[in-house]
Amino acid sequence: MSTEAAVIEKVEKKAEPLFSKKNKKLISNPLDIDNPITVQVLGVCSALAVTTQMLPALYMAASLTFVTTFSNLFISLLRNTIPSRIRIIVQLAVVSLWVIIVDQMLKAYAYDISKILSVFVGLIITNCIVMGRLEAFAMGNKPWPSVLDGLGNGLGYGMILMIIAFFREIFGSGSIFGFKIFEAIGVHYQGNGLMLLPAGACIILGIIIWVQRSLNGYREAH
């Protein structure tokens, strides 16, 4: 009886496609109804700090996505061996490993960007999104769903970063990815200094949260 059950379970596992409905949700939910920044309000610090221009924001988003994906994968692979008493330290060690590797890679291959991002790449270690996903998802799920979950949350974070950076760069400096768009169409544009300050990012983030919540009909539980 028990062997039969085991066989069925295995068959079921094999039958689940890589991008089943459940797995697709792991990626799509963080982009919308479960967004790490706008709904869970995590990782706001770096979202305010590195979004004055789109290019550094893109590198930051890619770095964080890389870190969440691979940390999730490794913690998920190790999840049955990690002693629960030191699990947070194990998670931190794995996150730090990937963050330092990303930081070193940026210093070697994108030196100018790494100077702009400065400490914020290192601070991915303390980004609540990464630790949050490890603790809430990777510790209890298989590697593949964990990878998708990490990827989804990284993309959800990156999407908001790029939206904020788009508005800040276009209103603050009149450019997109460093391309002076107003000059190109022959319009003189005086940059709005507020957009270059963290306060400008805070306002834009607030507006994004407002728009998203009113579209989704989301209400804070009391």
Partner: protein, 248 residues
């Protein structure tokens, strides 16, 4: 179920935890050491290129995508001097770390000098770029100062910092602040007076060749910059005084 419980118990034992932590540390440490060593050459090349860019940018405007290495090789003649202005034979600025020389007494420091020679005539010195190093509010600050061929007028400066406050002291690395040093002079009738950044911002010091407008909210960083310039011009003083062009 039985085995799972046994597994769980094993995982709670102190020996397992210690061994697990040790194993994890070794694996992570090895991975990081590997990453560090394999990327080191590229990172050092980036830092060296940045230094060359900083040296050149004090005297000329560099176009995007300019071949820094080629311009540097053609226009820069680098050598090392001591406090008395004597050239140290057989040494190049590559062997000298300004940061570690900074820890020595000024009289004992080895001082790199970068002469910018004319594009047409390699014997004609157009400017001289001197590295400076000091302490801001939170951490070290550093940079380069370019003096014109009269060894007195500042052609341009380039400052960098490690941890000054963004938006306040960190502004020393912005062109806005660095522009203020242009055309100021460091000697007055042959006496070294350096250039002082003043407290408060928005004042006009265009009539005073030894003062520049300050940075609002960053007086302590400005003090650090002033000390840095004063100290290093002092170090280079004998070398500058030795130059054939009469100081006025």
């Amino acid at each position: 179920m039985q085995t799972k419980n046994a597994d769980y118990n094993v995982r709670q034992s102190n020996l397992y935890i210690v061994l697990y932590a040790a194993g994890l540390t070794i694996v992570c440490g090895a991975a990081l050491a590997f990453a560090s060593i394999s990327l080191k050459d590229r990172q050092e090349a980036n830092v060296a290129l940045e230094e060359k860019t900083n040296i050149l940018s004090t005297v000329m405007t560099l176009e995007d995508g300019a071949n820094i290495e080629a311009i540097y090789a053609k226009r820069v003649r680098a050598f090392v001097i001591d406090y008395n202005g004597t050239v140290k034979e057989g040494m190049t600025p590559k062997n000298v770390s300004v940061a570690s020389e900074y820890k020595k007494k000024p009289q004992e420091r080895l001082l790199p000098v970068y002469e910018i020679v004319s594009e047409a005539d390699a014997n004609q010195v157009e400017a001289v770029v001197l590295p400076v190093y000091g302490y801001g509010l939170w951490n070290n600050i550093f940079g380069f100062v370019a003096l014109a061929s009269d060894f007195n007028t500042i052609l341009g400066v380039s400052f960098g910092h490690i941890g000054e406050t963004p938006g306040l002291g960190a502004r020393i690395s912005s062109t806005e602040i660095q522009e203020r040093y242009k055309n100021k002079s460091i000697f007055d009738n042959g006496q070294l007076v350096s250039v002082m950044m003043q407290k408060g911002e928005g004042m006009d010091y265009s009539g005073d060749t030894h003062k520049v407008d300050g940075m609002s909210g960053a007086t302590l960083t400005a003090k650090g910059v002033n000390n840095m310039l004063q100290e290093y011009f002092g170090c280079y003083n004998k070398y500058l005084q030795k130059q054939p062009i009469a100081l006025n």
